[in-house]
């Protein structure tokens, strides 16, 4: 059983240095949130994220995982903003006291497109980057190994959490717990399962930290790597270009008077 979402393939995207991918992700997030135009996010999805997903070969998993996260968020966003956006005057659909305004939908589109970029790009990083490579690459650049491990192990948390939750649920179902009924009833049933889940995770963390310390994780020696994470001059230049682009994106709305 793997505890990561990493999708092991040999694509160009997988082979990129993790720091390059991390900086690309951060630059994309800065750009879409700095420039208040929904179509900028649209262009980034069409020109960068989708081709990268296709090249990586992980597009199918990306779509499946992202839809699970995005569908409820986008649904709530469009309903709430479409109906309640303050200052919405252009009514495009009306039913009784309910008005959906174009201003509300446009606002939802602006926020929603950014969330889509954020989720797609982050999930693509998770799917194409092994946590260990990310940790090694960050450590090589002087980041504290403990901090690097926290970042990389966060990527492992969701599957590990799900595996433990599944076993607790199975154990309770074996004792006759029924999950049938209204959503409210199901939530009520699930709440008591949280305490064994959280306590179990604490035990795991303690054991894992003991095992890590037993392997000199707390050592202050300068770390070496059995297999160094590959990097190149082109990637190094690309990283700086991405940083400049992100900074330019922050300046653009000020220069163009979009704020």
């Amino acid at each position: 059983m793997s505890t990561t979402l990493f999708d092991n393939r040999k694509s160009v995207i997988h082979r990129l240095n993790p720091v390059t991918k991390l900086i690309a992700l951060l630059a994309i997030i800065v750009i879409v949130f700095a420039i208040p135009l929904w179509w900028v996010a649209g262009i980034i999805i069409v020109v960068i994220v989708v081709p990268a997903a296709v090249i990586s070969g992980s597009g199918g998993r990306l779509l499946k995982l992202s839809l699970r996260i995005l569908l409820p968020i986008l649904l709530v966003l469009f309903i709430v903003q479409g109906l309640t956006f303050p200052g919405g005057t252009t009514v495009i659909w009306q039913w009784g006291i309910i008005d959906i305004t174009s201003e509300g939908l446009l606002f939802a589109l602006g926020v929603g497109s950014r969330i889509v970029v954020l989720v797609l790009a982050s999930m693509l990083l998770v799917l194409t980057t092994h946590p260990g490579d990310l940790m090694s690459a960050l450590s090589e650049r002087g980041m504290s190994p403990k901090f690097a491990y926290i970042i990389s192990s966060t990527l492992q948390l969701i599957p590990a959490f799900r595996v433990r939750a599944d076993s607790i649920l199975l154990a309770q179902q074996a004792r006759g717990l029924s999950l049938k009924g209204s959503p409210f009833r199901r939530i009520k049933i699930m709440l008591p399962l949280l305490s064994p889940l959280v306590l179990g995770m604490f035990t795991d963390v303690e054991e894992r930290s003991t095992a890590m310390e037993a392997r000199a994780f707390g050592s202050t020696a300068k770390r070496t790597a059995l297999i160094p994470v590959p990097d190149s001059t082109v990637q190094n230049v690309s990283r700086w270009v991405l940083i400049v682009l992100a900074l330019a994106a922050v300046a653009t709305p000020i220069v163009l008077g979009l704020l």
Binding site: M1, S2, T3, T4, H130, P131, G132, D133, M135, S136, P145, Y149, S152, S153, Q156, D204, E207, R208, S209, T210, A211, M212, E213, A214, R215, A216, F217, G218, S219, T220, A221, K222, R223, T224, A225, L226, I227
Partner: protein, 285 residues
């Protein structure tokens, strides 16, 4: 190799001493078994020998703990792990999660110590050969069985050239095949000169591999002796440790005068076969 003198310990925020006036000497290159009922303090003692107490868990520790010439309380944890390694119960939780193959996983501890790449590669090969896991080197640590994962955890400790290895119930989460795998490796480790301290419930297997066995009960190492004599001791029942089926069967046979009252009780099948053969021969005569 290990010398614990008058060691007592209480966890933080409690006055209760889990261990009280414990003394233990372990000779180099031996396999020492420690048995005790659940909650008797086995994990605590394992953590004390390996330096996690007091360096990580804190609490009140008195007495002296010397392992491989190092006074554990006086060195840092990073230094302590170069003298003594610790293998815990869960094989899964010992995988770093930071490495893609077993080869890289084995090298993780060496990377932390800043060992040169060429030396790391050599040590990975050597330790994999010692433990018979060369065939696993290119596999993902998560794709292994529990027994194989535990071998990788043991190899991850041995690779750091620790002369002492403490194993805290290393087979408690393994199936019989995995359990056998881990115990078989103990012979190779002993042959390689590594001193082993094994905390275990599986008395039959411990009998086959341990030279000496100590009993942990009532917060103390209450009894000790050669593995067969100690593990067949009837007092183990009183201390909540129990006995093996061979010991129980032979004790019942002795009570019914089917075996001599001086006969040494067997613990494992290997012990039992000659005893029962002798009985059968006597019966036949």
């Amino acid at each position: 190799m290990i010398d614990l003198a008058d060691v007592s310990y209480a966890y933080p925020d409690t006055d209760h001493y889990v261990l009280s006036h414990v003394n233990l000497k372990v000779e180099p290159g031996t396999v020492t078994g420690i048995v005790g009922a659940s909650g008797s303090g086995k994990t605590t003692l394992a953590k004390i020998i390996s330096g996690f107490i007091p360096h990580v868990d804190g609490g009140e520790l008195s007495g002296s703990v010397v392992v491989d010439g190092a006074t554990i309380a006086d060195v840092t944890l990073s230094e302590a792990v170069s003298h003594v390694g610790l293998v815990i119960q869960s094989p899964f939780n010992q995988i770093s999660g930071a490495k893609f193959t077993v080869r890289e996983e084995l090298a993780f501890g060496l990377e932390n110590l800043g060992v040169a790449r060429e030396e790391m590669a050599e040590r990975v090969t050597a330790v994999a050969e010692l433990l018979g896991i060369t065939g696993l080197l290119e596999r993902s640590p998560y794709a292994l069985s529990g027994g194989q994962q535990q071998l990788v955890a043991i190899a991850s400790m041995i690779i750091m050239n620790t002369p002492v290895l403490v194993m805290d119930e290393p087979t408690s989460q393994l199936d019989p095949g995995g359990t056998r795998m881990v115990f078989d490796v103990m012979s190779s480790l002993r042959d390689a000169g590594i001193t082993l301290v094994v905390f275990e419930h599986k008395l039959e297997l411990l009998r086959e591999h341990a030279d000496i066995v100590h009993v942990l009960a009532e917060s103390q190492l209450i009894a000790s002796g050669p593995s067969r004599a100690m593990l067949a001791d009837p007092r183990l029942e009183k201390w909540g440790i129990g006995s093996t089926r061979f010991t129980a069967a032979a004790a019942a046979a002795r009570d019914r005068k089917l075996l001599s009252k001086d006969a040494e009780l067997p613990v494992s099948l290997t012990d039992a076969v000659p005893e029962f053969r002798a009985f059968a021969a006597k019966k036949g005569a």
